[in-house]
């Protein structure tokens, strides 16, 4: 916060000074336009200050508090005790931690390689204006409108061992013969991933479809005149043109994977094969004897994991702006 405040005043000082001293160094022709009136200064302060304050209050302060809390032991009620890196040492021996990291990675890879490409593929198909395209679009988009709590409930009905749709369709309802979709720790992550993809596919499809509608038809025309087939047109013309949308979809996929929480938590609070970093954080900090320090340490790990994609995205979008 302190460094933040300094940064703000450092930014604000030059324009204010410029107004008083009257710029002498840059081109004198523009002098008239460079002068900041009192109103301009106030506007600048408000425009830069309010967002800075908001970011500080709602992002930086909580983030740094989490990092600080991760070095403490606190049950949410009594005094906060500094314990150094003990929480991180405990994390290494914490049975649910490594599975949670793995599951987050599996989630990300599954979304990147299966759910998102499938959504893009459906968008390309539906862009062809096949008959009933609106019906298909609405049907595929439907799950996105539902909250994940509802999605979780629907899929629990599908995966339930006795009354569940899936076991009944497969004829696996006899006792001892059932497939425990949500109970078998080597199966349930995949079952939940399918439920999550059901929603992710629709989301990606709509975004991509909107992007495809914006592609200049003359580009495709030119490509087909040049003798490119459908696949080549998409690969070499449409896909590169869609670069901004591709970036958005990539970012959304990564974000959705890192914040994966709801479905695993609805099924069994993210246990027994469904551990995720987010469910570990929640399980450790809600309730009465919460371990806020330990939960914060897990949250910091999640933050570190998230920083990678964030840097990648910022790097890319900044490079674009410079170009």
């Amino acid at each position: 916060m302190a460094s933040d405040r300094n940064a703000r005043s450092a930014n604000a000082t030059p324009p204010a000074a410029a107004g008083g001293v009257a710029l002498s160094l840059p081109a004198p022709k523009k002098k008239h336009y460079s002068l900041l009136t009192r109103r301009d200064t106030i506007t600048l302060w408000v425009m830069a200050g309010v967002p800075t304050l908001l970011v500080g209050a709602f992002i930086l302060v909580p983030t740094f508090s989490s990092i600080l809390l991760s070095f403490t032991s606190w049950n949410g009620i009594g005094p906060i005790k500094f314990v150094g890196a003990q929480n991180y040492v405990d994390l290494l021996s914490y049975k649910q931690f490594v599975p949670a990291l793995e599951h987050n990675v599996i989630w990300l890879v599954f979304f990147l390689l299966i759910a998102t490409p499938l959504g893009m593929f459906l968008a390309v198909l539906l862009d062809k204006n096949i008959r009933g395209t609106r019906i298909y679009q609405s049907a595929i988009y439907m799950p996105v409108v539902l909250s994940l709590a509802v999605v979780g409930f629907i899929w629990q009905l599908i995966y339930a061992p006795e009354q569940g749709l899936l076991n009944n369709v497969l004829g696996k309802t006899a006792q001892g013969d059932q497939i425990s979709w949500l109970g078998n720790p080597s199966l349930n992550l995949w079952a939940v991933l399918i439920a999550a993809s059901w929603r992710q596919v629709g989301y990606v499809m709509v975004l991509y479809l909107a992007g495809l509608k914006g592609v200049d038809p003359s580009l495709r025309e030119a490509a087909s005149i040049d003798g490119a087939n459908e696949r080549q047109t998409f690969r070499h013309v449409v896909f590169p043109v869609m670069r901004p949308i591709n970036m958005v979809i990539l970012v959304i996929t990564v974000i959705e994977s890192l914040r994966a929480f709801d479905l695993a938590f609805i099924v069994n609070k993210g246990l027994n094969g469904l551990e995720l970093l987010s469910t570990l954080v929640t399980n450790n900090i809600i309730g009465e004897t919460s371990r806020i320090g330990f939960g914060s340490a897990i949250a910091v790990v999640l933050l570190v994991v998230s920083i990678g994609p964030i840097i990648f995205y910022l790097f890319n979008s900044l490079r674009e702006e410079i170009e």
């Binding site: 914490y94 409930f153 006795e162 109970g183 078998n184 069994n268 609070k269 027994n272 450790n284």
Partner: protein
Amino acid sequence: MVGLSAPWRRNGLITLASLAIVVSACSSAATTAPASVAPASVAPAASTAPAASTAPAASTAPAALGATTLGSNESDAVPKAAVQAMVDYCTAKAGITVKVNTTDHGTFQNQISSYLQGKPDDVVKWFAGNRVRFFAAQGLISPIDDVWANIEQYMTPGLKAASTGADGKTYFVPVYQYPWVVLYRKSLFTEKGYTIPTTIDEFVALAKKMQADGLVPLAFGDQDGWPAMGTFDILNMRMNGYQFHVGLMAGTEKWNDPRVKAVFAKWAELLPYFQQGAPGRTWQDAAKLALVDKKAGMYFLGTFANEQAAEADRTDVGFFPFPLMGTQYDSEKAIDAPIDGFFMVANPANAPAAKALLTCFGTPEAQLAYVLSPGLTSVAVSPLADTSKYSDVQKAQAEILKNAGSIAQFLDRDARADFAGPSGMQGFLLSFLSDPKQDLDKFLGDIQAYYDTLPPDK
């Protein structure tokens, strides 16, 4: 998901509202403040001051104690009406006015710490045992020894122990409880000629007979993580005795003790008679199989599972205590029977009125007003409560409780919450059920190692 009444049951969908914690914490604080102020204007402020200095006895107090508030997690219709019935009885009896503020029970449980540190209601619904002991140790609730001086005559030493904090003071007024039992359909037992097993050998013989008849002997669902705790509790108490169980829950006994290993080994041996795939089945589905579909012969859970049966079939549901296992601890006849009740917060707006309310809650009549509210299956804790108006289901429970020599709460009430919760035992028990043949020494070593990483419980 419909008709939950036992407050400690975690509902996944409801618990999900973690984001709502902050919001509801604020809103409950906001609603509490005016609630405690508005009715207070009925009684002049001055009148509460002398009341405070007089004896806290409720039954003799005139209608001058003023208003108090009660925070309740009973958001389902049936128990909510029961809370109201008991409060109505006590407002008339103690001459106070009470405003009941009800919060959804999942949210209530998740936000309880911040709620108690904010502006909580004067009297709050909660659980006996370690759960209340924790808040007592944190200084968030008030000792009520003066209330107990008046209600001890209605209680047992066991109830007092479950209400007492680590400092030896009482903090809690127990109101009702329900035992963990084996539930079965009487008509199924009559039809097939089954008899109630009292020993584990009879139990296994019956289970084999049921399997031969094409039934699942014991329905089982543990997707929510907690139902398996009841099975562990009963096996541990039967095999290692009540005292060892209490010590294990309190952390004085170790989880890597060979006696605990014996429990899990026995459990693994009995698992073929349990319904398979329990980690992926909700307790409601398991209850349905036994109590509605009659495809399972028995079901071990709290008596509230009876509510899953069709209304007309509920009198056909019978209970019996888990069979004895032929150990030296058989005579203890220990069971789990969680107790719910109320405590007073650290700084109540109107302590005399709150204490008068709690004193009233301790009487058998008030407890009866609660448990006789339509649709309830739990029973009053006071042994002096008149059982003549109980339903058959309640009479059967009262009988089992009367015969039980030692009564434990439940793993997630007897042990510290951060150990019992999803990060700890819920996860461990699910992993055991997913792979009962795993190396038990490593499994139990992991449990003890987790216990040892927890910060001091003070």
